[in-house]
Amino acid sequence: MTISGPGTFFDGATSAKHAVTVELAADVLRARAADGTVLAEWRYDELETVPAPEGILRLGQAGSPVLARLEVRDRGLADAIDDRSLPVDRTGRGERRMRIKVIVWSLIATASLVGVAVWGVPQIATRLTPLVPYAVERRLGELIEAQTRATLDTRHAGAAFECGNTAKEKSGHAAFDKLMKQLETAAGLPMPLHPLVVRQPEANAVTLPGGYIYVFQGLVDKAESPDELAGVIAHEVGHVAHRDGTRTVLQAAGISLLFGILLGDFVGGGAVVLAAKTILQTRYSRDVENAADAYGVMLMTRISGDARALGRFLLRIAGTTHPGPKILLDHPETRDRVTVIERMAGSAPTRPLLDQADWAALKSICSSS
């Protein structure tokens, strides 16, 4: 006994619509036209359900380049086809199972991407950084410097972003140069430094690739001795020597690449990427800061400055400003740092880095406004 029922057939060669009788034989399904011609004869195991609206079973031939389609609206007939054919999947159970597999693998892929971002990218950036030629780093520094300047320079007071260029500030600039010259000579870096004092109220300092060091006005104001200021700058010179700026750029580029291009802007916005960058960079800054501290202590000792001044200064800024400025937020717990600095700093005799007059001039390097 063969079950049969009405169906609609499209042969895939033309768009003509054929009303057919669908016959379910032992191992094949036949679509027979009104005049008895067999239009299609498909084995049950090569049937394939294709997307269709609710209430219509639409069948194709799996793997066939021709889009021949058989549509069955009769429920009983559709059930009978479903019973006979393994690949026909009207409830969508097979599809659901595959979907779950996809979801599980996507979750694994996500975890692996996050893992690469947290552990892989910093490692790769660390390995790549020494390979970046200094000429490239300098060019990179110029680009980033221009951008940083544009973001930091608010022009709120109408005065120049850089301190030390007006007649009143000239002597301060000379004193700053005198201090920097000692540090730079002792450091002996393969690349010239570009230190600047900039009109920013926070007690902070920033190092960019290419040897750019921004010392914020707030830091100069809060420093009580040349050694304190020199200590922070020596720490920043450590970042230059270790090429931390370049490494940060490489890390940021790597993370942008992972989360930006690979995952796509699925909610339309770089905010996610930006936040991810912040978190990840906070995560790996502890070792970097400790290394820069060690370098700072070494450099201060080399120029016979007071290496402990950095620790004192950090404690004082941490005590007075709350919530702490950026230098403290992404720096390891201040007390731990100071303990380490105290331990590393020897008790070699020190000499003043600047005389009283020079220090007074340096303190007023941003006095034009």
């Binding site: 499209f10 031939q61 699925f266």
Partner: protein, 420 residues
């Protein structure tokens, strides 16, 4: 396994004449909402990887619920193809981005202009190739659509037209649209039936001219008023410390800010009200220009329908905003207190992560509401407003064309220039 396709002269046997003009959309909003909400959760968990599956589901839903003469469309594309296309696109774009980076080191500011130009051309190229993929994955009555024509040629034409549109503040837009649509439709085939586009740019211009005047004239007037209010000689002379307010007065900057603000408010209001109207005009004009051989499409789309769609979106978005605020605001107050005992660093990470999750959830919420109201709503009212004549032609269309590669879709996805 035998198929008799080749041996049977198709048109003779049991041919059923299609009903004239019947276009229907049978999709219910409820399953579509379910699909999108489910997809949004998975998108969040998989950091977006699920989008290939969600896109495929959405297309299957829209395609198979759209009926012409009692037969529904079929979307034959798969998520796997989209994923593959995307991976290929990444392989193409990675070296390109690396090259941009290196060029930026050498050229400075000039390189961003170059990058913009290259990415714009590539974006249009991707749009055209993605259209080809979608067409070749669209089947109707067992015959697929396909697209010919060079995507590079299209990309260059599109770039030139868009430069003209920008430099005329949008006045040329109707002509650009009609030219580009002509190019696309001339290269679009349903089987061996060639498409074409008969919408006239001039007609679109006439219909949209009032909108253009309502936005561009106040914009230009505001710009001129702003610029004239400023006393340029005073402005270039920067003020000393405290006399900021008097300097603002003297330089006319205060007046200029007022003019600029008023212009901005007007443009924002105009955008909210006029954009749906603009959308309605363009959609009706576009669908009424579509032709396939002797098949002629006309549209009865009414402006109120489109306005209703956007009003629903605004309503749902407003309700969602209230709900989101009710959750996020107390959370933002409580969280710092809860994590108070942690060290400063984990605390920062915890709050940033929570903020990130909230941001993603809210953005996905808006995008889900947009898709379920605007995308589905526009699709429904555009489809149901169509009249199609000479459908008898559908009895004689022969299959032609091959499935195209999904690389275009991948590029469009990676460059964020996708469509549906």
């Amino acid at each position: 396994m035998t198929t008799f396709d080749a041996t049977v002269p198709a048109a003779q046997i049991g041919a059923v004449a299609p009903a004239e003009g019947g276009v229907r959309f049978r999709g219910e909003p409820r399953p579509f909402w379910r699909l999108l909400a489910h997809g949004a959760v998975l998108l969040m968990l998989t950091l977006g990887i699920y989008r290939f599956w969600l896109t495929t589901d959405v297309r299957r839903f829209l395609w198979s619920n759209t009926e012409v003469a009692g037969e529904s469309f079929e979307y034959t594309g798969t998520a796997r193809e989209l994923l593959l296309g995307f991976l290929i696109a990444v392989a193409i774009l990675l070296p390109l981005y690396a090259a941009f980076f290196l060029v930026a080191l050498g050229l400075g500011k000039l390189s961003s202009l170059l990058a913009l130009l290259v990415l714009t051309v590539l974006g249009h190229y991707a749009v055209y190739r993605a259209r080809r993929y979608r067409l070749t994955r669209t089947a109707f009555r067992g015959v697929r659509f396909h697209q010919s024509g060079s995507a590079w040629r299209y990309a260059v034409c599109a770039l030139l037209w868009w430069m003209l549109v920008l430099s005329t503040l949008g006045l040329v837009y109707p002509f650009a649209q009609s030219r580009l649509e002509r190019f696309k439709m001339r290269n679009t085939f349903f089987g061996d039936l060639q498409g074409r586009f008969e919408g006239s740019g001039f007609h679109l211009l006439l219909r949209g001219l009032v909108l253009w005047l309502l936005t561009v004239v106040p914009f230009a007037a505001g710009l001129i008023a702003t610029l004239r209010a400023i006393d340029w000689t005073t402005l270039t002379d920067p003020p000393g410390g405290d006399d900021l307010s008097s300097w603002l007065e003297a330089s006319g900057l205060a007046g200029a800010l007022v003019y600029a603000g008023l212009t901005g408010i007007w443009l924002l209001l105009a955008f909210v009200v006029l954009y749906p109207i603009f959308q309605a005009i363009v959609l009706r004009w576009w669908t009424s220009g579509l032709r396939f051989g002797e098949i002629v499409v006309t549209s009865r789309l009414r402006m109120t329908q489109v306005l209703g769609v956007y009003a629903r979106f605004l309503l749902y978005a407003f309700l969602f905003s209230v709900a989101a605020a009710a959750i996020v605001v107390p959370g933002a107050i409580l969280l710092p207190q809860l994590s108070g005992e942690l060290d400063s660093m984990p605390k920062e990470i915890v709050t940033t992560l929570a903020g990130l999750a909230a941001y993603v959830a809210i953005a996905l919420g808006y995008s889900t509401i947009y898709q379920a109201t605007v995308k589905l709503g526009l699709w429904r009212c555009v489809v149901e407003s169509l009249d199609i004549s000479n459908l008898a032609v559908l009895e004689q269309v022969s299959a032609a064309g091959q499935p195209a590669s999904p690389v275009g879709e991948g590029l469009a996805d990676a460059l964020s220039v996708g469509g549906i």
